[in-house]
Every structure is written in structure tokens, then in C-alpha cells.
Subunit: 276 residues, 2 copies
């Protein structure tokens, strides 16, 4: 799977790149950013970062300060865009939490969306192939924020053979039960709630999905979305009950922003590196 | 000098704040951001960061990753906006390199600008007073990027009693001689080149201005503005000739972006901390 580098910025001795490629899954050109710690060395490991609502491929790589913690390692990070763009689907640009910038990492089945909004396949197939064939990576971990934390948990739990470890910042853990999730899943998958459950980390674990490594979750206690949208405790209680190893770090005073992510990204990078 | 906190985000155990206050110099409400490493302790030291063209108070605090390097220290950083906004001056919003977002840290004398575009006084008087009275800081260093690097050099060289040390990333060192500088200085100060020289670090040093500490400059060699706008070598040659201590770190492969700044901001923080 080939890709084109649109911009490259030397950063901490490595390079931050902005790229695009033709996606088989979405049938569109998709953009991503990445940080490669050393230009000359072969890179063994990759972390996929899935961003949240309204984000594109730029937010994390610009704001999280992750390069500093990867610069001397053999680990790259890749940040895909969060949806196809400009396909003209009905209602695509009418709200911040559906359509453009809000792909929710599902394979859509509804009219207007099913042709291109195949974000689950985009990550699991295209981005994984890109990492293996395009960047020569052997081991892949997955993480993300909010909607992207949901994506990381769902994709990691459904593909434990592909993703060596899974973590999330402020994830939507139980979208079937929260307003953001209900809106997106009904819009992309239709009205049958059974169909939504393949994209809900709590429902997946309830039905037996497991990851052999600990699920690491970072959750700010001053996060305005914690109680109504993220429902972190639902996942924690469930993992406890069924024996899925997990760790939720509840962080006093931290909110939903990239200032929170930047404060703890080093811990998540080290966590994934310890599991490669 | 009082100020209002508009937003506060816990970051690395401290807080990133976005604020506004009434400026005596610009006669407008001005915005700034800051990072305070520890909420409870009195903060002894501050670094002023002056941003470049098109920037506002957000760019540095969001993109540079400086919080990580200040979190365990007794040093805050403050990032003022780069111009008054929305005053309705003629041509204020017609180009990226003059007017809004392009105050050049001068006290304007031209019609339409002289009432509010008093950015030199804003930094030297209002921001300094804000740090001393509002935040209780004792020692102040100054740095910045591009247009803000120019501002830091000029303001630091003209006020060595106020600013304990001076550094800059990719500064416009000789604005009297470059297109950006000629456009801005003529627009803010009129056609007499003699009047521009009070805002040109090379002209100031030529006329005897000195700082007892080393001027530290970071310059990327892949910076597209290096040869035509920044003129770094003019300052280096001059400092060498007149005996002003300086150090220019020319960095192979680095460009003019925040990816460059983030890669070396730790060195500049340590430099200023060693001079408090």
C-alpha cells in the first residue's frame, strides 16, 4: 500500500510527516500523520492513535507532545484522519458528532454512508497494511481519545492477534448507552440495537471478547463528558466481573483536552512498548 | 494589574490558563496564556514567549510542549497575543504580515495605529507588571519565535535591567534590511528609516546596546525564511565584531515550524533558568 508524503518536518532528530493514500476501504483519499523517530533505522513497532470527534490527522501530532517520548525508541506513531471527507453523504456536515470528523470507527450500512464510511475496515485492514508493507513495522499497538478511545478498545478487543496492546484516553466505552453513541450508531448502522453491539467495548467483553494484556485507560475526573457520555465505570465494573485485566487511572482535576493527553501520553507509550 | 482567567486546564500537575486583561498600553482587552507549574507554590521566575506572525496566545502553549519541561520547576511561562484585535485600523486585516497578528512589538506612530498598536509598551510595561504584581514573579526572561524572536531581542537588549536573559528561535534579527521588517516598520513608524532602528537588534547592538548574558539563538538550516527574512548571520557577525556574547545553534534539516521549536525548547528553558 503506497502513500505520498505531503509535508515533512524534522522533529527531535526524527521526522513528523503528513501523508495521503488511496484507501481500499473508504474508496477515498485518506490523510494521516506520523512520527518516525529515526530516519535511517528500520522501525519495528507502531502505535496507532485514533482521534476524537471533530479531529483530523493533525490534532494529536501537533498537540500531544508524543515525539519527545518516542525520539530515542524503535516505535513510530501513526494518526489517521477520523472519517472520509467531502463525499456528499446526507447530513455529513450538519453536526460535529456525526459525519465528517465523526466516523466512529464502524463499517456503515446505511444509505449514503455504506459506500465510504468503512472506518473499521480502514483501520484494521488499510492502516495495518500500510504499517506492515509501507513502513516495515512488525508489532502494532492501538490507542486513542474519546471517540478514538472507543475505536481503540473495539478494534483491539476484536483483533487481539493484530494489536499487541490496547489503551485509551477518556474513551466512550459503552456507546450503545450514551447520546453520542446512540446518534452515531443509529445513523451509520440503522435502528437495530443488536447491530450496534459489535462496536461497543462493553458489549464485546460481555459476549466473551478478551485481550490477554491489561486494558489501560486514563480518565480525568474533571472531564465534562465523563458521567454522561464516556461511562468509564461501566467498563471497569464489567472487566472486574468477567476477569478481563484492566487499569483505569482516574486523574483528579484533569479534563477532556489535549492538555490532559499530553500529561500522560508518556505512560501510555511506555505501556505499549513494554508489550511489543 | 488584574486579569481574568477564562479557561484553566490541569496539565502535568500544574495548570495551563487562558486569560484576558485591560491593557493600559493598547487601550484594548488583551489575551494571554500561561503555564503555572504548581498551583500552591509562589512562583519566582517567568519566561515571556513572544509569538510570530499570524499567531495568537494559543499557538505556543498548545504546540511547543513546554509544560513538560517546566512542571517541576519554579518557572512559569506567559504567552501574550501578538497584536491588538478588531480596532478597525486601516488595512488591519488585509495581509498576514501587517496589522492583526503582526504587531512586531513596536510602539506605532502612524495614523490609525498609534492609538492601540503599542506592543513594545504592552510587553515592557503591562506584561512585566502583570508578572510582578499579578503573579508575584521576581525574575523575568524573554524569548520568542520569528517576529517574536525579533521582539525578544529588541526588548531584551533595550531593557537588560528587566530581563535576566534573552533567547530566540528563528528571529528576524535585522528587520530594517528584510521585506517583512520594511513593510511592518514603515507601516507602523512611517518612512524615516532612522525611526525604525530602535526596533532592530543589529542596529541596537551597533549603537552600543548590550546584554551581559549570552544571546542564545536557535536557527534551522532548512528554514525557508532564513536567508531572505531572518538574516541570522548579520547578528552573529556583528556580535562577534563588537564583543556581545552570543550563541547561534544552526540546526541541520530543521524548518520554521513548531516541530522545530518543540525539539529545542527544553534547552532554552534550561538556559533561562540558569540565568535567573
Amino acid at each position: 500500500m503506497s502513500f505520498e508524503i505531503l509535508k515533512s518536518h524534522k522533529t527531535f532528530g526524527g521526522k513528523t510527516i503528513f501523508c495521503e493514500h488511496q484507501s481500499n476501504a473508504t474508496k477515498t483519499v485518506m490523510k494521516f500523520s506520523a512520527f518516525l523517530p529515526k530516519e535511517k533505522e528500520k522501525i519495528a513497532n507502531a502505535i496507532i492513535w485514533l482521534s476524537g470527534l471533530t479531529c483530523n490527522e493533525e490534532n494529536f501530532i501537533t498537540k500531544a507532545g508524543a515525539q519527545k517520548f518516542l525520539k530515542d525508541s524503535n516505535t513510530m506513531i501513526i494518526c489517521p484522519d477520523t472519517s472520509p471527507r467531502g463525499i456528499g453523504a446526507p447530513g455529513e456536515d450538519e453536526s460535529y458528532d456525526f459525519g465528517t470528523g465523526a466516523g466512529f470507527y464502524v463499517n456503515a450500512t446505511t444509505d449514503g454512508y455504506k459506500e465510504n464510511y468503512q472506518m473499521y475496515d480502514y483501520i484494521v485492514k488499510d492502516v495495518v497494511e500500510l504499517l506492515k508493507d509501507g513502513f516495515g513495522v512488525s508489532n502494532i499497538a492501538i490507542t486513542g481519545h474519546s471517540m478514538g478511545g472507543h475505536g481503540a478498545l473495539v478494534i483491539g478487543l476484536r483483533n487481539p492477534d493484530i494489536f499487541s496492546s490496547v489503551s485509551a484516553f477518556s474513551p466512550i466505552v459503552n456507546p450503545v448507552e450514551c447520546p453520542w453513541g446512540k446518534k452515531a450508531l443509529s445513523g451509520y448502522l440503522g435502528d437495530k440495537i443488536e447491530d450496534w453491539k459489535a462496536y461497543d467495548s462493553c458489549e464485546l467483553i460481555e459476549k466473551g471478547a478478551r485481550h490477554e494484556k491489561t486494558l489501560l485507560i486514563e480518565q480525568g475526573l474533571a472531564d465534562e463528558f465523563y458521567k454522561d457520555q464516556l461511562l468509564t465505570d461501566n467498563l471497569a465494573d464489567l472487566c472486574d466481573r468477567v476477569g478481563q485485566s484492566f487499569k483505569v487511572n482516574y486523574r483528579e482535576g484533569y479534563d477532556h483536552s489535549y492538555y490532559f493527553i499530553s500529561s500522560f501520553i508518556e505512560d501510555h507509550i511506555k505501556f505499549h512498548q513494554s508489550n511489543f
